[in-house]
């Protein structure tokens, strides 16, 4: 009898211990961008994301089905296209978000929208990855917040990094010698070494005509670009028309043939978002650089 009781007590203790452990294991505290602690009691089941890179992170961690609301700019993967939109990152529709009853809101930086949502009692996690270091931190934080086992999230991250490494290694030696000008918008604003795209280029060992000292996205004087004579120009669709009109640009060698890489909107997204698609983005850039180096005149197909 005593034996039975003892066994039962042990069993209870074990169950109790497991239960206690699992409870405490469920409450997670993460640090957001402002080094503030955010406590997430259980694995979130209804997530609203207001930043495309965060949306992609959630999906890469296999939690896509938990997304109930997205900002209007999130467009990958295809499955999220059916998720209701709740405004933009800077102008979220407070009512819509609250009505979705999310248990976690992923927002960028310190916007008034995030403050208001927090004041209304929602759990808001502020993250905004701006470079490669950020990307890793945000990746880990989101994984923790979503209660994804560390082993799984690390594994996926390793996969992404391997992809980036592969892109780096796919560069031909000639391609690596080139200097790049990456144009972000037709103002013209360029991406310097300290931006996310710049860091990707630096990982590939390729030069950037805009040094880090200019800030991540300096507004460039077009003449300066002419003087700097980049070997390759990478730009989005919207820039191409205005580029031809800038004085001296049409004669730039970088404007000829394959040395000018124009990315469609969907591809640009991949390049600029500091999220899980950085490997694909790096590969895009590597392909562009290789083609430019080869200087062959295959029709532009991207």
């Amino acid at each position: 009898m005593a034996e039975g009781l003892r066994a039962w007590a042990q069993y209870l203790a074990l169950v109790g211990a497991v239960w206690v452990c699992s409870q405490s294991a469920q409450a997670v505290t993460v640090l957001d961008d402002r080094q503030q602690k955010v406590q997430i009691a259980q694995a979130p089941q209804r997530i609203v994301s207001l930043l495309p890179s965060l949306t992609e992170t959630v999906c890469a961690l296999n939690q896509c089905d938990k997304l109930v609301g997205l900002d209007r700019y999130s467009n990958w993967p295809e499955s999220v296209k059916s998720v209701p939109r709740v405004g933009g990152g800077l102008d979220p529709n407070i009512e819509s978000i609250v009505a979705l009853k999310p248990d976690l809101v992923l927002a960028a930086g310190s916007t008034r929208g995030a403050d208001r949502l927090q004041a209304l009692g929602l759990n808001v996690l502020r993250l905004e990855p701006r470079n490669h270091a950020d990307a890793l931190r945000v990746w880990r934080t989101v994984a923790q917040a979503l209660h994804v086992p560390t082993a799984d999230s690390d594994r996926v991250w390793q996969g992404i990094q391997a992809g980036v490494q592969a892109a780096v290694q796919s560069l031909s030696p000639v391609a690596r010698q080139q200097r790049v000008y990456f144009e972000v918008s037709p103002a013209p604003y360029g991406a310097s070494e300290s931006s996310f795209m710049g860091e990707t280029l630096s990982r590939m060992g390729v030069g950037n005509i805009l040094p880090a000292s200019m800030g991540p996205f300096p507004q460039v004087n077009p003449e300066w670009v002419v003087q700097a004579r980049p070997d390759v120009i990478m730009a989005g669709d919207s820039s191409r028309a205005s580029m031809l009109q800038r004085p001296g640009w049409s004669r730039l060698p970088a404007m000829q043939g394959q040395r000018l890489c124009v990315f469609k909107q969907g591809d640009s997204d991949m390049l600029v978002r500091a999220g899980p698609r950085m490997a694909e983005g790096a590969q895009l850039m590597a392909d562009c650089l290789n083609r430019a180096a080869a200087q062959t005149d295959i029709g532009e197909k991207r």
């Binding site: 080094q35 800077l90 102008d91 529709n93 009512e95 930086g109 008034r112 403050d115 604003y189």
Partner: protein
Amino acid sequence: MLLTLGLSVVLLGTAAGSQGWQAWWSVGADAVSHQIVWDIRLPRSLGAWLGGALLGLAGAVAQGLFRNPLADPYLLGSASGASLGVGVYLSLWGGSAWAMNAWLGLGLTGAAFVGAVLAVVLTLLLARGVQQTLRLLLAGVVVGVVLGAVTSLISLLQPKVLQAMQGFMLGSTAFVSWSACATMAAVLALCLALAWVFARVLDALSLGEATAQSLGVPLPQARMALVGVISLATGAAVAHIGLVAFVGLAAPHLVRSLVRCTHAWRLLLSALMGGALLVLADVVARVLLAPQELPVGVLTAVLGGGYLLWRVYRDADSGVRS
């Protein structure tokens, strides 16, 4: 006169209430979310009314003080000051890891308010006091232009600020909370009281500066107080709902075309009218493209501009001087 007052209040009531059934989703079933929705919509509508009232009051005071029917509350540079405050705040603390709570919990609203008030102080310094109205006006224009240029410079140097700034410039009631309403209500009460006390001065001023002086009006003190009213009211409104155009300009005009009265009543009615106008505009902004929202500033510009155009044509036709 009282009819107009009643009308304005009734307008507010229906406007605030109409969102309930004009909503683009029905919240009848869930009592909890119904409560939450009113926790969002009610402060928003109230905030829109308070912001509109502040702007209407400031506009009426500005038009009386400068004896110019085209004066609006942003004349003394407060709009540019608020934008600059927002720009500086965003560029310094926009995405950094600095805890914003350390900065006296001021936040974006505080920055905008401080910016607006500082801009008016700068205008006063430039005009070397409130001695001459013309100098005050000119100084206000100069300050507005210069601060605007500085703001543009900041958004050039820090492009990440650009989008947030644009959101601010277009005006929106989306982020108005109960505490914001309380602040605006307090400022409104203070400004109304102050303006009421000096309403006589505005009446006397309407006969000319020298005449007002000969009537024994304490002009310098009154001007100072009224400029203070304009800057406080505008600063508070802009800080919470952004730059909303035309409400401060159109509300006093509407009041003037409807009712003949001295400034004491006109100030109060302009506040009420401004509040009603902005709530109306806010409701339309939310409903027009549901589920998307238009920035309320865009709507007030369109409506206000249209109204003023209509006034110009109507007066040109009938030959009546407005």
